[in-house]
């Protein structure tokens, strides 16, 4: 299921870009807006469901990574979607390594590691967007 969702990404990316101009304009450009929304939502849900079934819930990765990357590489979903998948996977690997080693021989739940790193990052992104913070 995850592979299917990954394979669908390139086909959705351009349409999702057009949606940034609003649903009406995306429709004028020939994008089937309703179908695109359903496909994207169902695809994302299926992929998330499959991953959670394997690993359990791990917070903050999905919410922080795309926003961080949008700041770094811009909002073009053709690059943003695959980059998010890659960076998310890398960060999880890192978090897993930290979780296994930091209190060795015991093991920290990985969700704690991602939350410790993720919550402040998310707060930072939020405050920046609101213009409260200028870092």
């Amino acid at each position: 299921m995850i592979v299917l969702a990954l394979a669908a990404m390139p086909f959705l990316a351009r349409g999702l870009n057009a949606l940034a101009l609003g649903e009406a304009t995306a429709g004028h450009l020939g994008i089937p807006v309703q179908r695109l929304k359903y496909t994207a939502i169902i695809g994302a849900s299926a992929a998330v469901g499959a991953s959670v079934a394997v690993s359990g819930g791990i917070g903050f990765v999905g919410i922080v990574v795309p926003h961080l990357l949008r700041l770094a590489i811009g909002p073009d979903n053709r690059y943003l979607l695959p980059a998010s998948a890659l960076l998310g996977a890398c960060l999880l690997l890192l978090a897993d390594a930290v979780a296994r080693t930091i209190v060795a021989p015991a093991e920290l739940p990985i969700g704690i590691v991602t939350a410790i790193a993720g919550a402040p990052s998310f707060l930072w992104i939020l405050l920046r967007k609101r213009g409260v913070l200028d870092l």
Binding site: N17, H28, L29, G30, I31, R70, P75, D76
Partner: protein, 262 residues
């Protein structure tokens, strides 16, 4: 050719456009004028396939309600009255969205260069790399125009005319850029396409349009050539203010001089 017969639009049970007949031929600029809230945008949205309507609309003989999104996207491009952008895209990325449907009609291999050329046409050379959200209001409006131009770059595709639907294309532009944009519209029409433009500037309307549709409270109050339609009586009544319609000495082009609110 666009033909709309007895078109009515209701939103939330309220009738906003009532019994409008509208015709335009390729080669023409059709202007829609009328006071705020008279239903111009609503009518154009129906023509764009955004709203359910009663009555009949055909574009190039094809029934609009039976048209697929992609077919419509190849046939006409729409400039909305206002556009918001939810993510920080660059100007180039916005304009490129006009190429999504892939039938600009430019020569093979030229699509890649169209965004730059379209930007040059709206006098935005060198803006491609800028962030859309950091542009001025008039510059943003011209970027949207460039996007729309890319979508139907060739006014005629496969022997069939294509159309530009403009909802107040020059509302935030200075005089020079108003003229530049209206010249683009005229050029598009001269080369065989058609333009439907909602305008508030009656003088620009007189200068550029072949036919004027005057809307008033959701209905068509008058239609005809600028010479026929722009008269003191009609315009004063529809717009509810005092004004003078004159005729320029050179030629027979009418102009409108506002005077006062009653």
């Amino acid at each position: 050719m666009i033909e709309a017969r007895d078109v009515s639009v209701a939103i939330g049970g309220k009738r906003i456009v009532a019994n409008v007949d509208f015709d335009m031929r390729p080669g023409e600029i059709a202007a829609i004028v009328g006071p705020n809230g008279s239903g111009k945008t609503t009518f154009l949205r129906a023509l764009s396939g955004d709203l359910a309507y009663s009555g009949a609309v055909t574009i190039n003989g094809r029934d609009l309600s039976a048209m697929k999104l992609v077919e419509a996207a190849m046939l006409r491009a729409v400039l909305p009255q206002a556009t918001t952008l939810s993510f920080p895209f660059t100007v180039r990325e916005i304009v490129r969205l006009g190429l999504l449907v892939g039938r600009s009609g430019a020569l093979p291999g030229e699509d890649e260069r169209l965004p730059e050329r379209a930007l040059a046409r709206v006098d935005l050379d060198g803006f491609a790399g800028r962030f859309y959200q950091e542009l001025s209001g008039g510059e943003q409006q011209r970027v949207q125009l460039a996007r729309v131009l890319c979508q139907v770059w060739a006014p005629v595709l496969d022997g069939k005319p294509r159309y530009l639907f403009f909802d107040e294309p020059v509302s935030s532009l200075d005089i020079k850029h108003q003229l530049i944009i209206m010249n683009i519209a005229r050029d598009f029409a001269r080369r065989g396409g058609g333009v439907v433009a909602i305008l508030h500037d009656l003088n620009l309307t007189a200068m550029y349009s072949d036919r004027i549709f005057v809307m008033h409270r959701g209905r068509l109050a008058a239609t005809g050539s600028p010479q026929d339609v722009l008269s003191d009586d009609l315009i004063e009544k529809v717009f509810d203010c005092r004004l003078r319609v004159g005729v320029l000495p050179a030629g027979d082009m009418p102009f409108v001089l506002p005077q006062s609110v009653y």
